[in-house]
């Protein structure tokens, strides 16, 4: 995935005060919550859900995350969380970047998802089908 690929989904999120730690900035782990929430909202907007997949014996799981922290967010700030999607064999790579409302980068992340079918890692065909509009 190159950074020139277009984003296919974006979500506005606002920092909640309890997400800010004693240093006055959003705690590093909270960004993974933002990223996950963005993926779920993307899936829901695309007409399916991780939970529905689960009921069908298909379990997408996070296998790797790489995240760079560029600019911290603080109390009361807003952000725009953007998402790209790319397939690399059995791995679905979400390029997820968060920006301030005026376009400054906050975090840049890559999240690898693989899918398990009935407990075994799959080649990703069913997930590819679900995401076909975006690949």
């Amino acid at each position: 995935m190159t950074s020139s690929e277009p984003y296919i989904f974006e979500l506005a999120i606002k920092v909640r005060d309890y997400e800010v730690d004693a240093e006055g900035i959003v705690n590093n782990a909270v960004y993974l919550h933002y990223l996950e929430h963005t993926r779920h909202e993307f899936c829901e907007a695309a007409g399916f859900s991780f939970r529905q997949m689960h009921h069908e014996g298909l379990d997408p799981v996070v296998s790797k995350i790489e995240i760079r922290y560029i600019r911290p967010l603080g109390l009361g700030q807003s952000m725009v969380s953007k998402l790209r999607l790319h397939r690399r064999g059995p791995v679905f790579v979400f390029g997820q970047d968060i920006f301030t409302p005026d376009g400054q980068a906050v975090v840049k992340a890559t999240v690898d998802i693989v899918s398990f079918e009935n407990g075994k890692i799959s080649r990703g065909e069913r997930l590819a089908q679900a995401f076909h509009k975006f690949l």
Copy 2:
């Protein structure tokens, strides 16, 4: 339940930095996590678990919490979380107080638990059996 009843379980817990919010004190919601963790450790020490109950069709759920915040905890501090148990008909009342290591009160809480059996609220007989040593 009167405050003269003895505690039947206690657990040492240490504040994790991410639990402290921008005001430099443990966020009010985090104490409910400490209280829940204490109840679960108590149950485990007593030889059973909420999850095992769940598998047997018995679901203890929190129906009410009353918590008074007396003294805030901050970065790096330790606490002792203590627990009493009392039954009031179908309701199991956990008296849960948290103290600093030198005995100063941090929070004082009462947590009401009722049990659902196969989806219906129960009279609590099975839960009473599980807790009989402590009632």
Copy 3:
């Protein structure tokens, strides 16, 4: 405060998947986050902020919470978080109820706030001034 008093603020919130625990329902502590977030958004909408107060040496702190859990929320559900405000001497009592979108009660809570001025508990005059439109 009686339940016949009108709500003065409401906020739509959607459950984030990570807020749901292993039992498939929103964890009890998470509701305190929803309630806190609602208070902060209320204050912001009313033109001031807890953090601004803090800079002015005024620290509103939660002294007591009473919360009843009536109906659990699960994955993907939405809620409406409503708020009333009432003063009882130095204590500002927020009546905070959360409902499903079709009006079914989820939790009903009372949150007591007192304000510290330069480290000492105050009679609440400055906070009353900030909230005067709502009292």
Copy 4:
């Protein structure tokens, strides 16, 4: 940093029930909390603290995290969180791996820390001094 370098610190941690999500496994973001808590306990054991550094105008911040999820943890499980430290110019690289008690890998992570001195990124000399025993 190669994987043959020895670990210099380890911490036993037990999963708390609220850290487990609806899929029955510890949520991906929670591992960053475990890693952060481990770093802080390491620093405390080594005789200094992030908060003390902060008071001295030195702010270590996380600039990048790479984490691989190998084996999920569930309700009631225990783990051992281990840590290595390595310096690469201004960057302090923590190699942080979490294992089950019997030695199976749970997550493997690399956490990059840089230090800001009075608001500007530093060459890391003061942090190197603090960590000199471990570099």
